[in-house]
């Protein structure tokens, strides 16, 4: 008997302990939820993350709304996990190119831009970019820029070349870098012409190629308002691709070795192995640190037959569909597009997360106190966005994979490959009901 009560006492004590432990666990979970912190995600490296943190700190100070910030380099994978749990971050700050996919999957919610304070301070072209094919707006513009061309000024001058103005100049310069001795180490040909991000991850190669095609009047697709036709295999497309093919497949190969599988081409330029690199202005800070401002040149894209157009890249703010904090979401978006938020995004220590402001009252070159941003702003005026009102992800992956194949096999198979690619893009457009 006695031992029995002893056991039951014992077990009831154990139950109590467990209950208390569980209770503590649950209450701590609730405590986190009860704080009403706004969960914000971005895809940023450590430097850019530091800038975001400074921006959010200023936001919290101003509004009293706490922000729980997470930078996810594997953004899509991590987001998938949250989608499966049906618990999305409150605010996502990410590439414009992902908006349509998220919107059609119901992960983000439509926004009424006119209701946001500061709506009229953001340019119309920016607001147009966050519209879906059906006319509804799913994002708030945050940052914009065009891909720009970086050149090693010291290398160029050492070999006696002028700033490249045309495609011919560009090829001549890249060839000289690839075969000569621009870094002066006494060895010819141990440097590379261009750093090329040929990776198919996220369809990155398609983004990089877009500019060189556009400069020759070629494009993957043409159209608008949700309906597109495939144009990559038309005569202009074939001609432009042949031009690129020569750069990759003729002797000398103008791209760095491993261009088709390197996860990133950035180190090749930053560490003095390649002399020309077309990428976004987010790289300016790190290139200036590594190469030195005096050796780094930012130029307008050398013109092809159709001009100096490059790819527009945009970062936008999206509202997660499961959020219970609509007012706080809005407050953050309003802060981020305000002059204060935009300026902080450019100047807070780290790496600028606002490359060029979407707020029309601001001038980037003045804020950065850096005349190079005049070129960056000028290039933006001569740039084009890839389709972002439809889910172009699958088509983009197809494009990147096809060109990776073409430029790594180098088997002169251009026209048939482009025809096959055109067929596959059509299929992918049809699948999202966007084929003209």
């Amino acid at each position: 008997m006695e031992s029995g009560t002893e056991t039951s006492k014992h077990s009831s004590k154990a139950y109590k302990t467990t209950a208390i432990a569980l209770g503590a666990l649950m209450s701590s979970t609730f405590a986190v939820q009860a704080q009403d912190a706004l969960e914000v995600w971005s895809r940023s490296g450590p430097q850019a993350a530091a800038t975001y943190e400074a921006v959010f700190a200023a936001f919290t100070e101003k509004t009293g709304i706490p922000v729980e910030y997470l930078t996810a380099l594997q953004f899509d994978t991590q987001l998938q996990a949250r989608v499966a749990a049906r618990d999305l971050p409150d605010v996502l700050i990410y590439d414009q190119s992902s908006m349509a996919a998220y919107a059609t999957s119901g992960w983000i919610v439509p926004i009424e831009p006119e209701t946001l304070a500061g709506y009229e301070e953001v340019s119309d072209i920016s607001w147009d970019s966050v519209k879906m094919a059906n006319g509804s707006t799913y994002g708030v513009p945050f940052s914009q820029h065009a891909q720009i061309t970086f050149v090693r000024k010291d290398w160029r001058e050492k070999l006696g070349f002028d700033v490249p103005k045309t495609h011919d100049d560009l090829i001549a310069l890249a060839t000289a870098f690839a075969t000569g001795d621009p870094d002066g180490n006494g060895v010819d040909g141990d440097t590379f012409g261009m750093a090329v991000p040929g990776t198919t991850s996220r369809g990155f190669f398609a983004w990089w190629m877009f500019s060189y095609l556009a400069q020759q009047g070629a494009s993957y697709v043409e159209g608008g308002d949700g309906k597109y036709e495939v144009t990559i295999n038309n005569p202009a497309g074939v001609k432009a691709v042949e031009w690129l093919y020569d750069a990759f497949c003729k002797d000398p190969n103008l791209a760095q070795p491993g261009a088709m599988t390197n996860a990133s081409a950035t180190p090749f330029f930053a560490e003095g192995q390649a002399g020309i690199y077309q990428t976004g202005p987010y790289a300016i800070t790190s290139f200036t640190d590594k190469i030195g401002a005096e050796n780094l040149e930012i130029i307008l894209a050398p013109a092809g037959s159709a001009g100096s157009t490059t790819l527009t890249e945009r970062t936008s703010i999206y509202f997660g569909a499961t959020s219970t904090l609509p007012d706080e979401q809005k407050a953050l978006a309003e802060f981020l597009i305000s002059q204060e938020g935009q300026t902080l995004g450019m100047t807070a220590p780290g790496q600028p997360v606002v490359r060029l402001p979407v707020n029309t009252n601001l001038v980037a070159a003045d804020i950065y106190e850096d005349p190079r941003f005049i070129t960056v702003a000028k290039q933006l005026e001569m740039s084009e966005l890839m389709p972002s009102d439809i889910d172009f992800t699958a088509a983009r992956l197809e494009i990147a994979e096809t060109f990776q194949t073409l430029f790594s096999q180098c088997n002169d198979d251009i026209v048939p490959q482009l025809d096959r690619l055109a067929g596959r893009i059509s299929e992918e457009l049809e699948a999202v009901n966007a084929l003209k």
Partner: protein
């Protein structure tokens, strides 16, 4: 505690014989309580297994029959996802690459593991050091291994490997760039990083080989080659079987090596089943198709294991 010790040694209580009449009653109580106490001990592990393995697996099977879209609602699509996987040219290429990579890597790693074990068997202290050094790739994270090999494989003439082969007059090779070479370059990394693991299993097997067999063979005038074929290999048969199954199942699931080294490129020449699943699921957002492909991989792994086990049993029986 007493429950377990007495359960495992039922004769101990009767041998002690302190209170003979009480013994059978206590024994009965124990045997009654045993069925649930065993489950109690298993429960933590079982719960974890159910929650982290079986529930997701069931979920995966369900998703493989659905068009997955958590926010708009999943819809049942029958066998569509499986049809997509089985008719997709990319998956066909991935199957072929997986088989080539799997076979090459398994055979290579097992053979090299075996040779390493023969070379490094013994109690000497230097051997102990060399064995540890050889084993290092196994304990290194595969992402790190991949990055190191990317440097070794750097395709310019002054890349590490190209410099080495340049010493014997071979032209530089674009290891991870050339579509006809990339798969074999990945295979080499796989062999390099998994052979030492199999070496350890073989070493354990070798320790159990009866020394007198070697001596008898030596007296009969057997050469080294004969000793390996007629003594070592038959004695190691169980180890060889285990290692082969492990290698084959591992090869089917290969992902990190490929992902870090080439991302499936160039031109899909190193695209394997797992990288296709990843691309479908996370890049193309087709979780249904990715689930169907995963289930097919599961079935293939199970079949492979069953076949291997069947053959081992037969061999043991004979």
């Amino acid at each position: 505690m007493t429950d377990i010790s007495s359960a495992s040694q039922p004769s101990a209580t009767s041998a002690a014989g302190g209170t003979p009449p009480a013994a059978p009653r206590r024994g009965r109580v124990r045997s009654q309580s045993r069925w649930w106490s065993a489950w109690m001990f298993l429960a933590p592990a079982l719960l974890l297994f159910i929650y982290f393995k079986f529930v997701p697996m069931g979920e995966g099977i369900r998703m493989s029959f659905q068009d997955v879209s958590p926010f708009l609602g999943n819809s049942w699509v029958g066998w569509d996802n499986y049809t997509t996987v089985l008719t997709n040219a990319r998956f066909h290429q991935a199957v072929w690459n997986t088989l080539v990579l799997g076979a090459g890597q398994s055979i290579g790693a097992v053979v090299i593991g075996f040779i390493l074990a023969l070379l490094l068997e013994g109690p000497s202290r230097t051997l102990w050091f060399v064995r540890t050094a050889v084993f290092l790739p196994v304990v290194t994270a595969s992402a790190v291994v991949g990055e190191i090999w990317r440097i070794i494989y750097f395709p310019s003439p002054d890349g590490f490997m190209n410099k080495l082969i340049g010493l014997v007059g071979i032209d530089p090779i674009r290891y991870l760039e050339d579509t006809s070479v990339a798969l074999y370059a990945v295979m080499t990394v796989g062999i390099w990083s998994s052979a030492p693991y199999y070496m350890v299993i073989f070493l354990a097997g070798l320790a159990g080989v009866d020394r007198s067999l070697y001596e008898a063979a030596a007296i009969d005038g057997a050469r080294l080659r004969h000793r390996i074929i007629n003594v070592t290999i038959p004695a190691l048969r169980p180890a060889i079987m285990i290692v082969s199954i492990l290698a084959a199942v591992r090869a089917l699931r290969i992902f990190t090596d490929v992902w870090v080294l080439t991302g499936g490129g160039p031109a899909g020449s190193t695209q394997v089943w797992m990288t296709q699943i990843y691309t479908q699921g996370f890049e193309r957002n087709n979780l249904g198709v990715a689930s169907a492909a995963s289930i097919l991989l599961l079935i293939a792994s199970v079949l492979l294991t069953v076949v291997a086990v069947y053959f081992t049993r037969n061999k043991e029986g004979a």
